[in-house]
């Protein structure tokens, strides 16, 4: 690498590139200025960009000079018949050692600093189990992570070719050792699998207690919002059919099903503490993901398909505020599956409150069924409140409905 040869064409190239960028950008800027009338002074910005480019070129030249100096040093040593000027194997061995020490400290720093910025304790029964599993896995993997890295970088340092040994130790295999390090991970993994499997089953396979049914809430996702439907007094969510979706009936609730007459619309998710709740999830357009990290709850919402998630919140929002020492704390529902341009902003507030507060809040929520919809579904109009008016003649109609997807 001849320094002179190397730098001149490179510099010229860089200058040309910078020049073209400038020329074209100023042309564009001018064109833009013509259209928008309001000319923007971009000089400062271009200056700062060329500043960084030049800085980088300077850095490259600095590196080239150091490389050159090293080469000259090595050549002079060789000319004087001295032993190899720099043993790079030793350099790298030492660097690996330094990397290990600094890296281990870095890992410790990450665990303690960034580790403390992660989610607070799980606010649900199954979430506590998940956290427990997580901690066990974290401890096991951290031990393996640190030990294997100490061995890896330690060996790199210890067995570097520094000229002290003529040959390495010929050691092609040892079946006993290999068997051990096949079986030990297998056993550890079996334990993890078993625990994970049992936890998984306890989350998704629950025994229904007919006397104590979970609160039923339906959440329907669409670009980019969540529609929430509480089951109302009958604790049953009525049927819905996407074909019924209109401007007034935005989620396609089938009001021929009497169960949906008392279903309530809500602008936020409010849950009573320590009460099982079962979410029925589906989507209107694309796949979204119903993700409430504080409860360790996630389930995709898929169009044409119903998915469910049942869990029991254990900590109220107020309690969490004191626990996290954050008066602004709030549970959130976010979308975790890429769904379009506003994917990053598809939120809903979630509140966990006491049973009384919940009942109080629930009373205030309006039913989906309003007079517009009554007209649409040819149901008798009512004078405002009377949601619970029995309309018996419709019962035959509902019975004849084909079973819709639920």
């Amino acid at each position: 690498m001849n320094l002179r040869k190397l730098i001149n064409p490179k510099l010229i190239a860089v200058i040309t590139v910078i020049f073209t960028v400038f020329a074209s950008t100023s042309v564009f800027a001018q064109a833009a200025a013509d259209v928008t009338v309001k000319p923007v002074d971009m000089d400062a910005i271009y200056k700062s960009i060329s500043y960084y480019v030049l800085l980088f070129v300077l850095l490259c030249m600095f590196v080239a000079i150091i490389g050159k100096a090293l080469k000259i040093y090595e050549l002079t040593q060789a000319v004087q018949d001295k032993p190899k000027a720099i043993n790079w194997n030793v350099v790298h061995g030492v660097l690996f050692m330094i990397f290990m020490v600094v890296g281990l400290y870095g890992v410790y720093w990450e665990y303690t600093v960034h580790g403390n910025m992660t989610l607070p304790e799980a606010a649900s029964i199954h979430g506590a189990k998940i956290d427990n599993m997580f901690n066990i896995t974290l401890i096991l993997t951290t031990i393996v992570f640190i030990l294997t890295h100490i061995v890896l970088f330690g060996f790199a340092y210890k067995y570097k070719n520094d000229g002290s040994r003529a040959k390495a130790y010929f050691y092609p295999h040892n079946n006993a050792i290999e068997r051990i390090w096949t079986i030990v991970p297998a056993v550890v993994l079996t334990v993890l699998v078993l625990m994970g499997f049992l936890t998984w089953r306890s989350i998704f396979f629950k025994n229904e207690d007919p006397n104590n049914k979970p609160i039923a809430i339906e959440v329907i996702s669409s670009q980019f919002q969540w529609d929430i439907r509480y089951a109302g007094a009958d604790k049953l969510i009525g049927l819905r059919n996407y074909k019924l979706i209109t401007g007034t009936n935005t989620t396609g609730i089938d009001f021929k099903d009497k169960n949906s007459w008392d279903d309530q619309r809500a602008d936020e998710i409010v849950l009573p503490v320590n009460k099982a709740v079962r979410f029925t999830l589906t989507s209107k357009d694309v796949i979204h993901s119903f993700y409430m990290p504080h409860f360790r709850v996630q389930m995709n919402t898929v169009p044409g398909m119903i998915s469910n998630f049942e869990f029991t919140p254990t900590i109220t929002t107020a309690e969490m505020k004191t626990k996290t020492n954050n008066p602004a704390f709030s549970y959130v529902l976010l979308c975790a599956k890429i769904c379009g341009s506003s994917h990053y902003n598809m939120k809903k507030t979630v509140r966990v409150v006491s049973e009384e507060e919940y009942q109080e809040w629930l009373l205030k929520q309006q039913p989906y069924l309003n007079n517009d919809l009554r007209a649409e579904f040819k149901l008798p109009l009512v004078a405002e409140v009377a949601v619970s008016d029995p309309i018996k003649k419709d019962s035959t109609l509902t019975a004849n409905q084909p079973a819709l997807k639920k």
């Binding site: 074209s24 564009f28 971009m42 960009i49 590196v63 490389g67 790079w88 194997n89 870095g106 890992v107 960034h114 580790g115 910025m117 989610l119 998940i130 997580f134 993997t141 393996v144 890896l152 060996f155 067995y159 070719n161 040959k167 390495a168 130790y169 010929f170 050691y171 092609p172 295999h173 040892n174 050792i177 290999e178 390090w181 096949t182 993890l192 699998v193 994970g196 499997f197 989350i203 669409s222 670009q223 996407y242 074909k243 979706i245 209107k284 357009d285 993901s289 993700y291 360790r296 389930m299 995709n300 898929v302 169009p303 044409g304 398909m305 975790a336 890429i338 379009g340 341009s341 990053y344």
Partner: protein, 624 residues
């Protein structure tokens, strides 16, 4: 190397066919020579990698400074960065195309394509691939696929932007997002061509390895690189067709009104007529390829690092058979783990339990491989060539990324980690970093074979250390964002109160990523400069045993001037006690190394054992 004995020249005809006049077109462009095709794959792969990296820097800038404007972006990107800020749709396009380029074009074609093409004929002792024409076609399909994918940046609605997994209905409905218009059509066409390319390559690799090994090269004498490429090719041949099936069905849904993936969909208040399909079907088809795909990405890297670590530790790879069996185990198991990408899709939870079991089992062969690498380093005589540095880096990333896989493979833990930054961190360590390091290791190691010149070692050192450090700085902190429940593919962290504390971390990560990107300049300069101006290489610059180092530095068509050398031993006889040198090439017969032969070298051949015993007696040699 003087050990190759050129026997009688009954194969003289081979010499001739290597020396006929070649035009520029047939030599450099429409070449059917596997060495040239390997270079074409590599250079295309490097170019695509640079593009992929630039895209990642663009969206990292958005993540770090969501409120700042960068007028220079508008200069280059126009309406996609109106006012100097990336648009949300374009942000999604960037992550999508970044993922697609890196996974398919760089780490599948760039890695497998380059090194399978270069090394399979050279290391098994074949004059070329089984079908050189198919091989050429494979490259051209790949190049077309790259060009089509890049072309989508130049259309009105922009490139595909529903994530590299292109889940329908988002990808199927042009009205769902701009990127699902023409951009997605181009993505699908590009992917069909890519799969065609992979299949042609894969079939070629498999048939070459099975049929064209030189005399004496039985399967258990193949280098681990060849085992890895062979098994990778099998994986690709069996799983890529499923992706094509999925893609074709998606094309039908998009263009011909079928309903394979669509049902019950309402966009705004427009009720679509599609009924009876299931978006989950796509996920099954996609991940049936998609999961083997991540092993298609990592296995060649593991093969390369096995070879590089053994050569540069001057030691046989520890547990050669265990290494092969664990590769076979990974290959087999990788077909039955795809469901772990779908734990929370609403798939029957029973399946979740099953897939969790198969997924965590696959960690066992991976662990065996890691321990064997460590055991290979033990009591070695390690030379830190740039290739070796990258191979060690690979082991480190493979451990880190593999361990975080234990969290995600566990269905219960996946509930809260799915689609968060934890996943991003995990696969960038194990694919993004480990596999790329394997690829770079291979480039540094086989550069002399490819271009007949050496790369500058010191620039290689600089490149390694900057990349190694910055990769950890980028990806380690991202785990913690995931543990805080920050979902991936978020355009900005400004809308949620709890995410704002991560903004400073994002700034840090972006600076680390910029450092890592600038470090690649050292590589790119080194790479292109050395092709033309590097120090001339010798025939066997690393003192390695495998066959490729017995070919002349100047490439000839047909690889070996005379007869193809015969293989007598496994490729890992490094530092054998008794031998004069610390390496014995595969072409050296045992009769020439009586002083270093071991009993198990003869694999139960009693006649040979007898001869050795007599020789030992005569020369007072005691075997240890």
């Amino acid at each position: 190397m003087s050990t190759i004995t050129l026997h009688d020249n009954q194969h003289n005809s081979h010499d001739d066919h290597g020396h006929h006049q070649e035009s520029f077109l047939s030599k450099y462009v429409f070449s059917q020579d596997h060495k040239m095709i390997a270079k074409q794959f590599l250079i295309t792969g490097v170019v695509m990698a640079v593009i992929g990296m630039v895209l990642s820097i663009l969206f990292r800038i958005q993540l770090a400074w969501p409120d700042k404007t960068f007028p220079i972006l508008e200069t280059f990107l126009g309406k996609w960065a109106e006012g100097g800020r990336l648009q949300p749709d374009f942000y999604l396009a960037l992550v999508t195309i970044h993922g697609t380029i890196m996974v398919f074009f760089v780490l599948t074609a760039g890695l497998s394509g380059t090194f399978s093409n270069l090394l399979i004929p050279l290391q098994i002792g074949a004059r070329d691939m089984a079908s050189p024409f198919l091989n050429m076609l494979s490259y051209w399909f790949f190049l077309c696929s790259c060009v089509i994918m890049m072309a989508s940046f130049f259309i009105q609605t922009g490139p595909a932007s529903s994530g590299w997994t292109i889940y329908p209905p988002l990808s199927a409905l042009p009205k769902a997002m701009p990127g699902s218009g023409l951009g997605m059509t181009l993505w699908l066409i590009s992917m069909v061509m890519f799969v065609a390319s992979s299949l042609m390559g894969g079939i070629n690799y498999v048939s070459t390895v099975l049929n064209m090994r030189t005399k004496g090269m039985d399967l258990w004498k193949m280098p681990l690189t060849i085992w890895a490429f062979f098994l990778t090719a099998i994986l690709g041949v069996l799983s890529f067709p499923v992706l094509v099936a999925g893609v074709v069905l998606l094309i039908f849904d998009r263009s011909f009104g079928t309903s394979f993936y669509l049902s019950d969909i309402v966009l705004g208040t427009t009720i679509l007529p599609n009924e009876g399909g299931s978006p989950i079907l796509w996920q099954h088809l996609f991940w049936f390829l998609g999961h083997p795909e991540v092993y298609i990405v990592i296995m060649p890297a593991l093969g390369i690092s096995s070879e590089v670590i053994s050569i540069n530790s001057r030691k046989p790879i520890f547990g050669y058979h265990a290494m092969v069996y664990s590769l076979i185990g990974i290959t087999t198991l990788s077909f039955i783990v795809w469901g772990h990408h779908m734990f929370v899709t609403g798939m029957n939870p029973f399946l979740g339990g099953v897939f969790m079991i198969t997924t965590l089992i696959i960690a066992v062969p991976s662990a065996v491989k890691t321990f064997n690498y460590l055991a290979t380093l033990w009591k070695g005589n390690i030379r830190f060539t740039p290739a070796m540095l990258f191979a060690i880096g690979l082991v480190s990333f493979f451990i880190s990324g593999g361990l975080t896989g234990l969290f995600l493979g566990n269905a219960s833990l996946d509930i809260n980690l799915h689609d968060t930054y934890f996943v991003v961190a995990h696969f960038h360590l194990v694919m993004g970093s480990a596999a790329i390091f394997g690829m770079l290791s291979g480039v540094y190691h086989w550069f002399p074979k490819m271009f007949g010149r050496m790369m500058n070692a010191k620039l290689g050192y600089l490149h390694f250390w900057l990349t190694f450090i910055s990769a950890y700085l980028v990806f380690f902190p991202l785990h913690f964002l995931g543990l805080d429940g920050v979902p991936r593919r978020y355009y900005a962290f400004t809308e949620f109160e709890f995410m704002q504390k991560w903004l400073t971390v994002n700034v840090f990560v972006t600076w680390a990523a910029i450092l890592g990107a600038l470090a690649q300049v050292a590589f790119l300069f080194n790479f292109f400069y050395s092709i033309f101006k590097g120090k001339k290489a010798t025939e066997n610059p690393w003192d390695a045993n495998t066959l490729e180092w017995t070919t002349p530095v100047e490439h000839i068509h047909g690889n070996w001037a005379g007869e193809i050398p015969t293989v007598y031993r496994w490729p890992y006889d490094y530092s054998k006690p008794g031998a004069k040198e610390d390496f014995i090439p595969q072409t050296v017969p045992f009769s020439q190394t009586m002083e270093s032969n071991l009993a198990h070298d003869f694999e139960g051949n009693s006649e040979a054992e007898e001869i050795q015993k007599n020789w030992n007696k005569q020369n007072n040699r005691v075997e240890d």
